[in-house]
Every structure is written in C-alpha cells, then in structure tokens.
Symmetry: C2
Subunit: 197 residues, 2 copies
Amino acid sequence: MEKPVYHHGDLRAALLDAAEAELLADPRCTLSVRALAAEIGVSATAPHAHFKTKADLLAALAVRGFERLRDETIARSARTSGVEQRFAALAEAYLRFSEAYPGLYRIMFLIGADFNAYPELRRASLASFHVLEDAIREYELAAPQDDALDLAFAAWALVHGMASLLSDDRVTPEVARSQEVPDLARIAARLITSRHR
Amino acid sequence: MEKPVYHHGDLRAALLDAAEAELLADPRCTLSVRALAAEIGVSATAPHAHFKTKADLLAALAVRGFERLRDETIARSARTSGVEQRFAALAEAYLRFSEAYPGLYRIMFLIGADFNAYPELRRASLASFHVLEDAIREYELAAPQDDALDLAFAAWALVHGMASLLSDDRVTPEVARSQEVPDLARIAARLITSRHR
DNA sequence: GGATATAACTAAGCATTGCTAACTTTGCAA
DNA sequence: TTGCAAAGTTAGCAATGCTTAGTTATATCC
C-alpha cells in the first residue's frame, strides 16, 4: 500500500494539466474526474476540494482555453500588414487553435458551456472576442448600416463555424475544395473584408 | 406488479420521440437511455434491441434532425424572390431551427458527432447542406477565384456559427446589437451576397 | 393449424462515474 | 504548544451503459 499524499502541492493545476493531456490523447473523450485523480495518484474524491463539481472543472478548463486562444490570435496577427492579411492571420490562428486542441475546443464551446453560471468564463470568452472586434474597428471595415459590432459578430460566427465543422470531421471534399487551414482562413478573410475592396 | 409489455408496437420511434420530448423540456440534458425506457414503460434494457449503443440512438436522433432541418429550410426559402431575401430566408430557417430545437441541434453537431462511424448521418447532413449549395449556384454568387463550393461552405459555417453561439447563450449585447433571429439572418445574408452588389 | 425460429422483451448483475458524508492528516498561525 | 482550517482519505449511494441469460410473442413454414 502506498503512503497517502496528503498535500500534493498544486492539485488544482495538476488536474487541469491531466485533463488537457487526456483531451490531447483522445479529443472526444468524456473526461472522468475519478480517472484524472487516479492518474495523478490521489484518491477519487480529492478533486472535490478544488472543484466542487465536474462542471466547475470543465469551466476552469474552458477559461484556460479562451486565454490561450486570445494569446495565440494576438501573437499571430501582430506581425501582419494589410487588411486581408490581418484577418487571414486571425482566422488562421483561430482555426489552428481548434485543430491543435480539438478536445479543449469542444469543452470551451460544446460541453461545459453554461456561461450564465460562470461569469469568469464569459469574461474570458469576451476577451478573446475583443481581439477580433478591435481589428474590425481599426480598419473601419463596417459599413454605416451595420456597425462594427455586428460585423465582428459575423466574423466570429464564421470562423467559429468553420472551426466547429473542422474539428467534427465535417469538412470533406464534398463541402469544401480544400481542407487546409490556410485556404479556409483566406476564404473567411476575403468574405469579411469584401466590403473593403 | 404491472404486466410486462412484450411487444410495444414501435419502440424505436417511441424512444426517439421520448428523447426529443426530453430535449425540448431540457435542452442541455444528458439523455439517459434507461430513463427513456422507464418513461415509455419498458425495461431498462429493452432499447438495446433497437439501438445497440447510446451513440446509435443519438445518431438516429441526429439523422431525424438533419432531415427536418432540410425540410424547413426548403419550405421557408421557397416563397422568396431576390438574392438577399432568399439567403435571409435560408439563414432565418436555420437559426429558427436551432432556436426551436436547441437540444436536438446540440445532438446533431456536438454530441453524437462521429460522422465517420455513421454514414447515414453524413448523408443526411450533406443533404441539408445541398439546399444552401444549390442556392449559391442558382444565383451564381461565387466569384471566379473561389468557386461555388467554397462560398457555400463559408455560408454554412457562418449560419452554423451563429446558431451555435445563439443556442449556447453567447449572443449578448456585448457581442451583437440585436439578438433577434431576423436581424442576425439579415446580417448573414448581406455578407454572403456582398459580392453580388 | 401446429411446430418452430426469430424478434422483442425481462431480469439480474457488473463496472464506471459523480457526489456526499464522516474522518484523518498536515501546515500555519495565534 | 495548541487549535483550526485546508487538503486529503475511506466508505458508500444512486445513476448509468452495457452484457448475459432467460422468457414471451409474432410470423413463417409445412
């Protein structure tokens, strides 16, 4: 019998890390809190001290995801010049994120998604949205009749739709000529900036 | 003790109906096969004769959803004239569907979504996509450089993204001026037909 | 019309899972 | 040093998906 580990150090972070590792290995998996605990080497109910419910853990995971998404979209779009390039970079960052972390992306949008119950989650989500919104405003892409916010929303919906379809293996030759991220990003960017030309 | 019901008549359809009812009552519910069986009044393992696994049931449910989505988009877009009106009607039908059956919509796209394992599901999904694709081709909306298929895909992604965000309560004043379906549909239609003006 | 095969169902039971309750250990602070 | 809160533990419950083995109704064949 192993000696119990009464103070792990940072079980909370360890749980989130283990969950992410599990999601990377099997993007479609149903995370099991007990399995995560076993993986780490603590008892099945140890997580309860840090996450009262599984939904709480998923929400924390989603917050992490949105923060990383924000960082990556900012990083990738920083070194661009020109409208269309800028938006292509934003779209590409978004699509790459959903491709690199499909399991996490699922959690962010599909599973633990009760935003009203997790204000922190809504805050993180809005923060990542603002990257897009700022770009729209910076280039004054919106026409007078539909303002910047509406165009930003449409842009978000467009890339989010693409990302969702992509991560669900729905993008096939019957649906899009190319399944490559840069091509899809270019299509999105052209559509968003169409009024600019 | 009640007398066992050995032949229900059409347990398969009854299960799907009960599942839909449950989803209408609680769109975010995790369907339980056992609970559905209990609701109908058969034993917990009776469904197994019709659906070998829960995933099979969800897939069948999703097929139903895609067929209904297709019917409703066709019906609503039939009585329109003009490009923008046509696409607004298509988008509106799509958004209304996701609003009317949010639980079913979740199943269709988020949960039982292993398309590769269910060819029937892929077929139904493609059939509903073709409604959009046909409209794009009919109005020759695509520019030479990106052909009709790519524009159709973008259109699908756009409305699907809007529908997803809508059904997850992510459409708030911080994200879009209006949360009303007709307004969102108009925004989508304008974007898709922008090259046409 | 009666045997019989098969589809449709029941009953029992197992493993996993989320969660709660009650208890124990550890570290910090008065 | 003592006491207390945080962070673990064990035990156990209820729900769920799935399997196995047995039972009953329906349909088909002769």
